[in-house]
């Protein structure tokens, strides 16, 4: 396989005495959805926050395209091509869907210290924003204030904003959370389309979706990687059966 877009090496995060993430070494590749699953408190969201730079790691390294990006701030990591979406919808509610994406796309200008020309006249930025909306199928809602969108549409918008920054790897924290059946199916289809051009870290509780989507699965328990492999390997793993999948009924 080719070089990993993103690689973590013995990544560790302590909160006081608690090891939320310990010794996690994983690789993420283009055209591969890498799902991270595990019970609540396993450290999945913390792992996402470490990779996106929103939390500083205690030890270990993160490499993007072979370059060490450990310790860089969230804005720098974003500029280098790591895009993320949030477990709890995190958008600009008073702005229109288009403006949400436009602002995301504008972040790729060399600088936004531009004071004269109206923001709407930067055609490349607007085009990029529209492209992102089209990609998630939200272009018909472009002029609607984000606050008036349905929950599912807000989740789509969240992804569109991430796409508008043209990332190389997507960190998606429970993109299916709270979605209805039809919306879920559409999102699954979207993620399948997106993986062709992106590496993807997918944190998700919906096991049906995970096994339908994931090319690679990592199971975390108490901050540690319990098992990592193909979906078939994970299904067959006795350790996983015991620690996690045994509780599948509770999630279904």
């Amino acid at each position: 396989m080719t070089e990993a877009v993103l690689r973590t090496e013995r990544l560790t995060k302590h909160f006081g005495g608690l090891a939320a993430v310990s010794d996690v070494s994983l690789g993420f590749f283009i055209d591969q959805i890498h799902a991270v699953i595990g019970p609540n408190g396993a450290g999945k969201t913390t792992l996402t926050n470490l990779v996106s730079g929103e939390l500083a790691s205690t030890s270990g390294h993160i490499y993007l395209d072979g370059e060490d990006i450990t310790g860089l701030s969230a804005d720098r990591i974003s500029q280098r091509g790591v895009g993320r979406s949030y477990q709890k919808t995190n958008i600009f509610l008073p702005f229109t869907a288009f403006e949400n994406c436009r602002l995301a796309a504008q972040s790729r200008l060399p600088s936004s210290m531009r004071f004269i020309r109206p923001a709407l006249r930067y055609d490349n930025v607007s085009r990029e924003a529209l492209r992102a909306l089209v990609e998630v199928g939200l272009e018909h809602r472009a002029q609607a204030p984000a606050a008036t969108l349905s929950h599912g549409e807000q989740r789509q918008l969240e992804i569109a904003m991430t796409l508008a920054t043209r990332p190389r790897i997507l960190l998606l924290d429970e993109p299916l959370a709270g979605m209805g059946g039809e919306e879920s199916a559409r999102m699954v289809e979207l993620l399948q389309k997106l993986k062709q051009a992106h590496a993807m870290l997918l944190v998700e509780h919906d096991m049906d979706a995970v096994f339908a989507l994931a090319d690679r699965l990592t199971v975390m328990v108490n901050g540690n990687v319990l098992e990592s492999g193909t979906p078939e390997q994970i299904r067959a793993s006795a350790a996983v059966q015991e620690a996690y999948l045994g509780t599948e009924d509770a999630h279904a």
Partner: protein, 329 residues
């Protein structure tokens, strides 16, 4: 769409009324309106921080007052300063102070930001109040208004109160236009994004600190512009011009008019100053001199306004014809 045109018509009407005022008004009123327009510029500069970027500063008078002192320093005893030199100098001084203070206070947020801006402004206040550099607590006079001479040619004279009025009106219109352009630019969109959701702006790749600092410096420079002309008009600068009382007053203007709208900042400044005058002029009722206790009335008015008009006086218009907030303004 129709709503925007109504607002534009009202705005143009106000501008024309202000332009015609000197034809009909006496000197006293011309000077009063000059002062009100200067406070409107000051309020707009603060609104850029409070209403647009979401940074509630309680120390904005420091930049206003410092520029006044800069004029006093630039006009040595009985000699007039040159406008074209001293104005940029005064604004640069305020901007430099804003850069230093901003670089420190913008590392905090929320209630801490309010307290730290207040603390820094008070430091500047006591620097002028407790030392002899500019007359201490007594303040310092600006004996002559700045001259606008360019190589012997003087396009206008600030000693003439009508000329002074039109200069300030022009500046008010210029600052308003400048901020309108700025707010529609990529920079403007970024600062409003920071107010709505700063953490998300960072994860989209924006170094928000830089934008907040740039905004703080610009806002300080504009406050300096207002402070410079206020000192020139009044002919006197005292530590009170950079005290917390002044900072609180301009913050009230912004809140009263409606935060996050330039029109609101102007409306708030005019309303506050007219009310102050109106309350002061109230006659005595029996034993009670109402005019002397005008601050009590003002306090009551502010309380009512905040309780009844959460979007400020401009919100009154929205009560009549509601309009959804798009966030793009």
């Amino acid at each position: 769409m129709r709503k925007i045109r109504v607002a534009t018509v009202v705005l143009l009407g106000c501008l024309i009324a202000l332009a015609l005022l000197p034809l009909v008004a006496e000197k006293y009123y011309i000077q009063l309106f000059t002062k009100m327009m200067l406070m409107a510029i000051f309020a707009m500069s603060l609104d850029l921080l409070v209403g647009y970027t979401g940074l509630v500063s309680l120390g904005h008078a420091a930049f206003f007052g410092l520029a006044g002192y800069a004029l006093a320093f630039a006009a040595p005893q009985y000699q007039a300063a040159n406008l074209w030199l001293s104005l940029p100098l005064a604004m640069a001084g305020s901007a430099a102070l804003a850069l230093v203070i901003g670089a420190l206070v913008l590392r905090t947020s929320g209630i801490y930001f309010i307290m730290v801006t207040l603390a820094f402004a008070q430091m500047v206040f006591f620097l002028f109040h407790d030392t002899k550099i500019a007359g201490g607590a007594d303040g310092i006079y600006v004996y002559a208004k700045p001259v606008a001479a360019i190589a012997g040619w003087e396009p206008f004279s600030l000693e003439n109160h009508t000329h002074f009025y039109f200069v300030v009106l022009l500046l008010l219109a210029l600052v308003y236009a400048l901020l309108r352009v700025l707010l529609a630019s990529p920079f403007g969109r970024v600062i409003v994004g920071i107010r709505v959701n700063e953490q998300r702006m960072r994860s989209l790749g924006y170094r928000t600190f830089r934008y907040k600092l740039a905004c703080f410096v610009l806002s300080g420079a504009l406050a300096g512009m207002a402070g410079y002309f206020a000192a020139a008009q009044f002919g006197f600068v005292s530590p009170d011009t950079l005290g917390w009382h002044q900072s609180g007053g301009v913050l009230m203007m912004v809140i009263l008019g409606g935060m996050g709208t330039l029109n609101g900042a102007i409306l708030g400044a005019f309303t506050m100053m007219l009310l102050e005058l109106g309350f002061q002029g109230l006659p005595a009722v029996g034993e009670v001199d109402i005019g002397k206790h005008w601050q009590l009335l003002m306090g009551g008015f502010i309380v009512c306004a905040v309780l009844l008009l959460p979007h400020g006086l401009l919100g009154l218009g929205r009560l009549v014809s509601p309009r959804p907030e798009t966030g793009s303004d």
